[in-house]
């Protein structure tokens, strides 16, 4: 479970600027901060109106950035994590 913050447009953030609402969710477990920042989280009981006027009701989690861009960011994040794990294991004398 992770705490993220949503602004008035339901866009997600990893830090609170003081005007955001805190939300607990497991959707972003294992996800990079750049993934979080590319999503909207609409809580249950609230609604978000898309630019074309379509209304969507929560609980809904949906990206507002391009899927491919978010995927690339996550792949880079996971590669970095693997590299860090490998380095840590190397320090412990474990060869990967």
């Amino acid at each position: 479970m992770r705490t993220i913050y949503i602004d008035s447009d339901f866009k997600c953030h990893t830090t609170n600027d003081g005007a955001m609402k805190a939300v607990e969710t497991d959707f972003f477990d294992g996800k990079s901060d750049s993934i979080v920042e590319g999503y909207r989280f609409v809580p249950f009981g609230e609604s978000w109106t898309r630019s074309d006027g379509a209304v969507f009701y929560g609980e809904m989690v949906t990206p507002w950035k391009d899927y491919d861009e978010l995927d690339d960011a996550q792949r880079q994040y996971e590669k970095q994590l693997l590299a860090e794990y490998a380095e840590a294991l190397k320090v412990m004398g474990v060869t990967v």
């Binding site: 978000w48 379509a54 969507f56 009701y57 809904m60 989690v61 949906t62 990206p63 899927y67 995927d71």
Partner: protein, 289 residues
């Protein structure tokens, strides 16, 4: 419908048959090659005298419809006969040719406007069909009662993924990670019962292209709210890379109402449903705008 007069007494050889029918129609009785014909009067009456005992075939026609029934003459007899009529209100894709057939009679819509009030003259199963030359759709209607008024709506594929059956040519079928999945004409059922804390998901085998669509909706039939064995986790989701790793979802709370997920128009994604330790039954999943 008026009740025919009983013709009492009377002289002459043979029975008197008094027929009550729609006014102004041709009424005929036939037996053993002998045919007698009259036109019903303004009150709908036609009287046949001197009919030998036995079974006569009574027929009425107005040049468009025909109705027939057997009549057993043993003495003076009155009977009522009418044309059967039922209406099928048909909506079909504009520009398509629409027909309605019971196997022996085929009716064709007078135009391709997309609406047709089709009047049928017989009970039974009628097949309503439409085609635009490349696509076609049919549905059957059961007509049982004179005066019956029923509706049929025909549509070619328009974004459905599951709707009283899987659109396998689009979805490629569904695959679950754990639990069980059952797909029939009643529902798509993902059952996570007995899977503990595992998140149970089922997704389309194919990626679905949201060409011209930007919404994905679902209607559930079973959220197992009665048992409330899970934490309320019933999701409709989309996934971009791994079909069982959601990249967006909407949560369902109640059955028999639509829940809608925003999807980027033009996106190509797997579509899935998710539950936890209980059944999740679905009646419809579809793309739309």
């Amino acid at each position: 419908m008026a009740i025919g007069r009983t013709n009492t007494g009377g002289g002459g050889v043979g029975g008197v048959l008094t027929v009550t029918a729609p006014a102004g129609v041709t009424v005929s009785v036939s037996k053993d090659g002998k045919v007698k014909t009259k036109t019903s009067n303004a009150e709908g009456l036609a009287v046949f005298k001197g009919l030998a005992t036995g079974t006569w075939t009574l027929t009425i026609t107005n040049g468009v419809q025909t109705s027939t029934k057997p009549v057993v003459i043993t003495a003076d007899y009155n009977t009522v006969i009418a044309f059967f009529s039922a209406t099928i209100n048909i909506t079909y894709p504009v520009g398509s040719v629409c027909t309605c057939s019971n196997g022996s009679t085929t009716l064709t819509a007078p135009d391709t406007s997309g609406t047709w009030k089709c009047v049928v003259s017989n009970k039974g199963t009628w097949t309503v069909s439409c085609t635009n030359g490349t696509e076609s759709k049919s549905e059957t209607v059961s007509i049982t009662t004179d005066g019956q008024n029923t509706s049929v709506e025909l549509a070619y594929w328009d974004g459905q993924l599951y709707d009283a059956g899987d659109f396998t040519s689009i979805t490629g079928g569904w695959i679950n990670n754990v639990g069980s999945i059952e797909i029939n004409s009643s529902e798509l059922l993902l059952d996570g019962s007995g899977c503990g804390d595992a998140i149970v998901r089922a997704a389309t085998r194919n990626k679905i292209k949201f060409d011209g669509y930007s919404k994905l909706s679902i209607i559930a039939t079973n959220l197992d709210k009665e048992h409330n064995r899970n934490d309320g986790r019933h999701h409709l989701y989309v996934a971009t890379t791994d079909k069982h790793t959601p990249t967006g979802y909407v949560q369902l709370k109640d059955t028999n109402k639509p829940y809608t997920l925003n999807v980027e128009e033009g996106a190509s994604v797997y579509v899935g449903i998710e539950t936890k330790n209980c059944p999740f039954g679905v009646s419809k999943i579809w793309m739309h705008n």
